[in-house]
């Protein structure tokens, strides 16, 4: 059983400790609370570097020092504090960095509210457990044989067929009915690869519908997006060795993953509002009367600084959009402002929680909206890479990983 050390402040009093426990149970993990002495807590500044006013945060830092000194205590670390607590956010971030810099233990950082449920935590916990448990499988760098992947996402369903380390077929459909969409995308990928379904040696599924689709299609691997996207991204970007950062701005949520040798280390998954997701860009394209595939090219001709836009909330973002067009702003400036605003939300809300190290790889369908990686480059001051097949990253990762199970 995977032991996840919980370093937290507030979940009991928020009434969500039971939900954290349930999420851990669902992924076959055990939450543990490393023992510390009173002296460890009283001397936390000396050992950790800071001491804060809240006792539970000092206790969390003392526990972090115990884990670093005794790495056998835990297989993974879950750091959680209340959403909207500044002191908690500072400590959470420092604990994450401290564990990351001083051990090889994977860390998940999360801020909760009383509305946090086991289901919202499930993908994150699953990824944390996978990272801790299947390092051997995750270190796989080559796809072998004939395998396929289906990514049942919130907006689109994608599929690929891979043979001997190459993508030989792809399929893509908008997600409507989960199983029917998966069937259509899978069939399209098989058809473009010229392969029959019975020839596929192993299928991997990922995305929101992964469990349903995986059961329906008899998948050998059913895996959350954090893991497969990391693998798919570094595989396609040919960055399997060393550090990398993967950014996936999805239709419903966003992921930022810090990767080391192809294995996810720290990651965040979230999206406060659709204003920080691909949905806002869809809305912008519709309002500008252009196809979503043309929005990126249009944005590249524009200047975001000419249009004030803040899509922290999609309603405010839409107001900025409507107001700027009514005031006579050029469509290309509005398009670039929308891309910049979405990138800015991800930069402010998520990229502060991971170590952003080059190469920075942007994946998912939104990475193909050229203005978005450009905006991210401007914000990060780093080159952003968009690999070929960026929109199929989840299926490629699933297909690559499942080939390891076929061999076994």
């Amino acid at each position: 059983m995977i032991r996840i050390a919980q370093l937290s402040c507030g979940p009991e009093y928020s009434g969500v400790q039971g939900e954290l426990q349930k999420a851990a149970d669902m992924v076959g993990a055990e939450l543990i609370f490393p023992e510390v002495s009173l002296e460890d807590v009283m001397n936390v500044e000396e050992r950790f570097g800071i001491e804060v006013a809240s006792g539970d945060l000092n206790l969390a830092m003392a526990r972090a020092t115990r884990i670093v000194e005794n790495p056998d205590l835990a297989d993974a670390v879950f750091v959680a504090t209340c959403f909207r607590c500044a002191e908690g956010a500072i400590v959470r971030s420092e604990i994450r960095k401290y564990i990351h810099e001083n051990s090889r233990i994977p860390v998940l950082s999360y801020s909760f509210t009383e509305r946090t449920t086991a289901e919202t935590l499930l993908t994150r916990m699953e990824a944390l457990v996978t990272t801790a448990k299947f390092k051997g499988l995750l270190s796989r760098e080559r796809q072998t044989g004939l395998t396929a992947g289906i990514d049942s996402g919130s907006t689109t369903t994608k599929s690929v067929v891979m043979k001997d380390n190459e993508v030989i077929g792809t399929g893509w459909v908008p997600t409507t009915e989960v199983v029917k969409s998966a069937e259509a995308a899978y069939n399209a990928a098989l058809e473009s690869a010229g392969v029959k379904r019975e020839e596929i040696q192993g299928l991997g599924t990922t995305g929101y519908g992964r469990h349903l689709v995986g059961r329906e299609f008899g998948a050998k691997l059913i895996q959350e997006e954090i893991t497969v996207n990391s693998k798919g991204a570094v595989f396609l970007a040919e960055a399997q060795k060393g550090e990398a950062t993967v950014i996936d701005i999805g239709g419903m949520d966003n992921k930022a993953i810090s990767v080391q040798d192809g294995i996810p280390g720290t990651f965040t998954m979230g999206g406060i509002c659709a204003g920080a997701s691909g949905r806002f860009l869809e809305l912008t394209a519709r309002r500008l009367g252009v196809d979503i595939t043309e929005l990126g090219k249009l944005a590249l001709k524009g200047d975001y600084q000419k249009v004030p836009m803040n899509s922290y909330c999609i309603v405010f973002g839409t107001q900025s959009l409507v107001n700027s067009l009514s005031a006579g702003s050029k469509p290309e400036d509005v398009a670039m402002a929308a891309c910049h605003s979405v990138a800015e939300q991800v930069f402010e809300q998520q990229l502060q929680e991971v170590e952003v190290k080059e190469p920075v790889i942007m994946v998912g369908g939104t990475a193909l909206i050229e203005g978005l990686p450009r905006a991210m480059e401007q914000l990060l001051g780093m080159k952003v890479m968009v690999p070929h097949y960026a929109q199929y990253i989840g299926c490629v990762g699933a297909s690559l990983l499942v080939s390891g199970l076929v061999e076994d």
Binding site: G10, E12, Y13, G15, V16, L38, C85, G88
Partner: protein, 145 residues
Amino acid sequence: MVKVMVYPPTSMILADLVERKGHEALVVSKEVRKKVDTPGLDSPPLNMTTEDPKKGLKYAAVDVPSGVRGRMALLGPMIEEAEAAIVIKGDDCTLGCTGCARTNELARFLLKTKRIPLLELEYPEDEVEAKRFVFKIREFLEGLS
């Protein structure tokens, strides 16, 4: 007998001093015991549920962290019930601890503005100060009608 809230509200030392003088100490352990003893669907160990941070909305706005509001769901009714209070400043976690500094700030503020007999004391640093500390508390408690 007067209902005296002690702060930190987990301090057994302060609660003992209050009860030795014949008053009722309002401490968080009693509130937690009510949660444990009252039949319901709540889960251990603290028997706090997601309803508690909502009850805390009476004392703190929705943009205050859920952990503060959950704690206030326990402390708020005690503050309302209190007829007097002893508040210790500069204390360390060996005296008692709510775990959250923001909760401490809010609860202390509510006690101070409640217009009840209030004794505020600095946490003693040595034995001489500790004796004065106990003496002042005793004097305060004896003065309560």
